[in-house]
């Protein structure tokens, strides 16, 4: 899929198909002229996104879901959030795509074509929860810098690929390996070819897990362009930025990877808790690893009005980074009392779990249904915002919906 030449080579009839209308006087169009309808493409059409998705940023693209859109057990593409750090790669050709494994800690660097990866290694499929480290940032006070995600920067899709571990074993890794770092073909916002928009990674222990994949399929189809076609590193349960899109190189490092957005304050929180608004030195910031326990009520949509005496079915998903969710509760009285929800085991490790409950209300009035998950180590979601941090990561405060009983 060569995006640019695709547009250049496209004929008038495909322009017409893209715009959804015939181009009148099409034969008089000047050579080299692109109809204006294609110059500022609508992201919903371009990326096949649901019309209720919310665009936070268009350069780079950052688009989030709303809680009620995430009701599916396996998130379809149209409801998956997009968090890009740079501009989309300019040219992607799966036929000539290669992945190089290099770095200080490989015995010899090695390059695979995409078809070699697919034919040489066993395929695995897992449902993996990917949540942006900054999901929930909009609630921090004082406000934190960056895209102001509310609740919708999370998804759990079915990813198919080969294990990174199998590939690394085939290459041969020295025993001084500490970290892997990915490199991709997206373009820095400044268009400076020497800069990478993002180049993050994970320690060897995470890289060698069964579920850490080099994926080429999402929900049974080729990965959509905006989600990393044709090859994406997928590491469930960790900030989604670890799951590099459009990956063409993985470096096995003898130290913590120092690529773009690994250092400074990016995807880091204070090593020791700080007061809201406090300044934190770069060296006192620690890299985020597993994401914290969290849950989302995906049905009904907030704002439901029901009749007195009617019960309300609620449902949603809960996840806990590297851990499992062991208990799920809801409250209709702002946490004074909690009731149990039923919760299913995950489809596989690192997949989100589905919960449901039937809620009854004692009398007419305004209510909020709050949901609280507890992980397998006994840690629960806070009702208030968790520890303030300069970049506004890891807000796992309870989700709530508004209900009126008439």
């Amino acid at each position: 899929m060569e995006r640019r030449s695709f547009i250049k080579k496209a004929t008038l009839s495909s322009f017409a198909a893209l715009i959804g209308a015939d181009i009148v006087f099409g034969s008089n169009i000047l050579e080299g002229y692109f109809p204006i309808g294609l110059q500022d493409p609508d992201p919903f059409t371009m990326f096949n996104k649901h019309k209720e998705m919310v665009v936070l940023n268009d350069k780079p693209w950052n688009i989030e879901a709303q809680a009620h859109l995430l009701d599916d057990e396996i998130t379809p593409n149209e409801k998956m959030f997009v968090r890009n750090n740079g501009l989309l790669p300019e040219e992607v050709n799966a036929k000539t795509w290669t992945l190089t494994i290099d770095g200080e800690s490989v015995v010899n660097s090695k390059t695979y074509t995409l078809s070699e990866l697919k034919s040489k290694f066993k395929h695995y499929s897992y449902q993996l929860t990917l949540e942006c480290g900054g999901n929930g940032r909009s609630e921090f006070n004082p406000p934190a810098k960056g895209n102001q995600w509310t609740v919708g920067a999370v998804h759990c899709a079915l990813w198919t690929g080969v294990r990174l571990r199998d590939v690394l074993e085939d290459v041969g890794i020295k025993n001084n390996a500490v970290y892997i770092g990915y490199h991709s073909t997206d373009v820095h916002l400044s268009r400076d070819p020497k800069k990478e928009p993002i180049s993050r990674g994970a320690p060897m222990s995470k890289s060698l897990q069964d579920e850490t994949l080099l994926a080429f399929k999402m929900n049974g189809k080729d990965i959509p362009m905006v989600h990393g076609y044709p090859l994406r590193l997928v590491a469930g349960g960790w900030p989604a930025s670890v799951s590099g899109k459009w990956v063409n190189r993985i470096s096995v490092r003898n130290k913590v990877h120092d690529g773009a957005k690994m250092t400074g304050t990016a995807y880091r929180v204070p090593c020791e808790p700080v007061a809201p608004g406090e300044k934190v030195k770069d060296e006192d910031m620690c890299i985020i690893e597993s994401m914290p326990v969290k849950s989302l009520i995906t049905y009904p949509k907030t704002g439901a009005t029901i009749s007195e005496g009617k019960s309300l079915r609620i449902r949603g998903h809960a996840w806990a980074g590297e851990l499992e969710v062991s208990k799920m509760e809801y409250s209709i009285d702002f946490g004074a009392t909690w009731n149990r929800c039923s919760i299913e085991p995950p489809a596989n490790r690192l997949a989100w779990q589905h919960f449901s409950a039937t809620v009854t209300f004692p009398k007419r009035g305004y209510y909020e249904v709050w949901a609280r998950a507890t992980d397998s180590k006994g840690k629960a979601q806070p009702m208030l915002l968790p520890g303030w941090n300069p970049k506004g990561y890891l807000n796992n405060a309870c989700h709530r919906i508004a209900i009126k009983v008439k």
């Binding site: 692109f34 940023n57 350069k59 780079p60 400044s190 400074g264 704002g303 009005t305 009126k404």
Partner: protein, 157 residues
Amino acid sequence: MSGKQDFREGVRRIFYRLMGLFSLFMIAGAILIYYMIDPDFSAFKSEKNTYVVMDAEEDIDRIENGIHVRTGLKEGEGLMVVVNNCTNCHSAKLVTQNRMSEARWNATIKWMQETQNLWDLGKNQDVIVSYLVSNYPVEDVGRRASLTNIEWYELED
């Protein structure tokens, strides 16, 4: 009578010469004006260019209801300095969704200069930061804000 005829002939000749001279000036003037507008005479070259159709009437920096239409930024002192310096690399949406103090906007600018190829803003930095803190001020929302903007609907079974 022939004296009168000669005189008329003379006047006509002078008139034609003057007309000729005037036309020459007009043509030269037109060429000069065209040269000022299009010094490369590009209209006479047959290069293949990419043409973008724009409504000639439309002002790209027009403001409607206090909002700069092209970027979504609020009208205010320093608006165009912000547009020209802060929307080249990233979308204005990254600016409008954030709320920061003067110190933190300055720190953000420093970070963009150190890592994202942002240029030295010189005197414009104060203009930009004062625009940002006055149009996008920090609001105190406490430890957990009330739910707002709820769209109520009847839930059918």
